[in-house]
Symmetry: C2
Subunit: 230 residues, 2 copies
Amino acid sequence: MAGRMGAMPFTIVSHVLAIGAAIMVLVWCIHFRGGLAWEATNKSLIFNIHPVLMLIGFIILGGEAIISYKALPLSKEVKKLIHLTLHAFALILGIVGISAAFKYHNESSIANLYSLHSWIGIGVICLYAIQWIFGFAMFFYPGGSAGVRAESLPWHVLFGLFVYILALATAILGFLEKLTFLESSGLAKYGNEAFLVNFTALVTILFGAFVVLTAVSPAHVEEEFSYSSI
Amino acid sequence: MAGRMGAMPFTIVSHVLAIGAAIMVLVWCIHFRGGLAWEATNKSLIFNIHPVLMLIGFIILGGEAIISYKALPLSKEVKKLIHLTLHAFALILGIVGISAAFKYHNESSIANLYSLHSWIGIGVICLYAIQWIFGFAMFFYPGGSAGVRAESLPWHVLFGLFVYILALATAILGFLEKLTFLESSGLAKYGNEAFLVNFTALVTILFGAFVVLTAVSPAHVEEEFSYSSI
């Protein structure tokens, strides 16, 4: 789909952006927001687990899982094992990260599940789990017949990217929602922290864009994709 | 890319979702938020132009422009003219819609361009304009050579969908930002208006997803897409 360009340059940019986004969310939650804790009297520290796990554990690890299948110079069986293992970790860390948000809400008497961020987020984690289970059963164990696998692979890729783009959108909604609440409580709209959070969200979008570009590009430059709508 | 399914069913669902989203944003801005006005002492009425024009004028018209090139049973030249004209109207209405947000901010002494929604939004409208100008020059007038056109078409599709997905993400950020501000000022988190706004955003996401599905599906079921990464 991406013309004659191979996936490799997109892969490298993805890794660099992943490191950048991971550092930025840690600086935000630890330096600006006071750190992370599962049990604390300052309930905000419980909340802080949420952005860190959702970005590093879910979005970045999930993105690396997508990239791994296209980019690693290994046999298909080994790549498949890495792909599904990374996605399993991403899913588990995502579920723990969502639990942290519920725990913070419950211990601070804040209503649960009222915002679009929470609604789409619940939808995304469910679709992600369904996609994982379906992919595992179809392509790993027990595995469909060769014909059914070939038939369903484009749908696996399409639905997987669809869910991943929704996950990215949810993350961006989360950054904006938290920052809007903080700004409504007096945080400076042009202050260092506001810029850091907005730039973390921008780097996250760019990371996701390069993950998707990696996924839709041919693994090697020699491969040609046909394109029939011209 | 979408297996053996033609674009037609996706197209029909897109139109239905477009009508739904358009009605919902009008009900929100007129019934719940008091109506639309370019000049008013109640500055909120100026703001209300923004979501209406950005959703109906920019997102929906832009989506219909994307669909039109795939779905209409007309000659390529006529489809191209409709495609670029609809995109031109979407771009112009988008610019007027953004102006309404600046006008509201300026007349209400609210800072401009501090939120991620505004940053990405400015980026999206610029990319949209660049994409339109490039598409016009390459595919309409004066037009590149056949080889260069064939070479650049997949990039036109890929970049166009990339910008459109960013536009959708920006719209969703906008709904969430406005609703978070309203909720910080006392709007009921589970009230009718909050549900309406969240559901408008959800229908907008679904509309966008079906526009993208239309664009990546073959125009006719007979066409087969090759997929080389299996």
